[in-house]
């Protein structure tokens, strides 16, 4: 499972490289088949209706095509990069707000990424996905609520009826577990 995931990220990284180098439509189709439905699912859990989620998922994938030069595989997995594009699209479309980026965060690699860095990142991404999958259900649900529904802690408290302190400590425990799993 873990090695599958590593290989999978290597496959997506290669697809993005083919788009960048040759505007390769076949590579784009592979990425689209895998990620567009996931981005749509992500946006629907965030409160978008079907039409808006499909529209935005297409925007996200079109952005991936156009910004393929800016993807740095030593900094993030393909899924993480796509998550950041989908998140920004959601803030724009659903929240009608802006999320300023830090200075000098450019996805553009100044130098070709080091193979060892690349491999380390793939391993860490795979380990993180596995660790999230292994979280107790109650903790995982709160992490998902924070990312998918983009609810604040007090909004989660309102929705679930859980005390704010419980939510905070469960999220803290979840992060602690993830940290341990990654060490």
């Amino acid at each position: 499972m873990r090695s599958d995931r590593k290989m999978e990220n290597a496959r997506w990284v290669a697809c993005i490289a083919r788009i960048r180098a040759d505007a390769d439509e076949g590579a784009f189709a592979e990425l689209y088949a895998h990620f567009a439905p996931r981005v749509k699912g992500f946006l629907m859990k965030s409160g978008a209706d079907t039409t808006l989620a499909e529209e935005c998922a297409q925007d996200v994938m079109a952005t991936l095509w156009q910004k393929s030069h800016l993807f740095d595989p030593a900094r993030a997995s393909a899924a993480t990069w796509i998550f950041t594009i989908a998140r920004n699209r959601r803030i724009d479309a659903l929240r009608k707000s802006r999320r300023p980026d830090p200075e000098d965060i450019t996805w553009g690699p100044a130098v070709p990424p080091d193979q060892a860095d690349l491999l380390a990142l793939q391993q860490e991404s795979a380990a993180l996905t596995k660790a999230i999958g292994a979280l107790p259900a109650k903790q995982k649900a709160l992490i998902e609520a924070a990312y998918y529904a983009d609810l604040s802690h007090s909004e989660i408290a309102k929705e679930t009826g859980l005390p704010l302190g419980t939510i905070k400590s469960r999220i803290r425990l979840a992060l602690e577990r993830l940290r341990q799993a990654m060490n």
Partner: protein, 218 residues
């Protein structure tokens, strides 16, 4: 610009910034801190990666037939973005890039308004869920004793301030909530410039300030 930073972002703020759920004024303050702090930048990478892992393992919803062709047509309609050009560093940069974007320049472009006792402020335009403001506090001056209804972030961009909890220098961020009543004082030596973000009005403890508050939008 990597000053020696002692006060960092909380896990909760980093996670909310990665998830994209913060009011714009808070996102701006977090982005400005990360622009100055490599440690928090690295920590943010881990929170973005949680988002990536969730999208990878989360539920997929089928796209309708023909959507790929439509998407490809859309992708091809605009030219690809060329290799990134990092924003040019600020000239005599006091303000980190994200704040410069809101001000429309560096410190000399800020439109300050006096709020009394030599303190000046400039409110930056963000979404209505919270307020972002730059504060210019003359060296040695104190901000009136106040508490907070919600959360207030204060990021030091120049100089330093002290309150009962600690000293906050260049790049440090203070996260204050309902539990903290404080009287921040700008350190002597150099005027203190901060970016603050708050999701509720401050509570000043003297009536006079409260009236001023209504007019000055502190």
């Amino acid at each position: 610009m990597t000053p020696e930073i002692r006060h960092h972002l909380t896990d909760a703020l980093l996670m909310a910034y990665a998830a994209g759920s913060l009011p714009e004024a808070f996102s701006l303050t977090v982005a400005a801190h990360i622009s100055m702090c490599d440690e928090c930048r690295a920590r943010l990478g881990a929170y973005d990666a949680i988002g990536g892992a969730l999208i990878e393992d989360g539920g997929a919803a089928d796209m309708p037939g023909g959507s790929f062709a439509a998407c490809l047509a859309r992708a091809r309609a605009t030219p690809m973005v060329a290799t990134s050009n990092p924003a040019p560093p600020g000239v005599n940069g006091v303000l980190p890039g994200p704040i410069r974007d809101y001000v429309g320049g560096d410190l000399d472009a800020v439109r300050w308004r006096p709020v009394g006792m030599g303190v000046r402020q400039a409110i930056l335009r963000t979404d209505k869920r919270a307020t972002a403001r730059l504060l210019h506090i003359p060296a040695g001056t104190s901000i009136p004793d106040h508490g907070h209804h919600g959360t207030e972030l204060t990021l030091v961009l120049q100089g330093a301030f002290l309150d009962a909890t600690d000293r906050f220098g260049l790049g440090d961020i203070e996260v204050a909530n309902e539990d903290l009543d404080h009287t921040p004082v700008a350190d002597i030596g150099v005027d203190c410039i901060c970016l603050t973000a708050s999701d509720a009005p401050l509570r000043f403890h003297k009536l006079g300030y409260r009236i001023a508050q209504r007019f000055l939008r502190i």
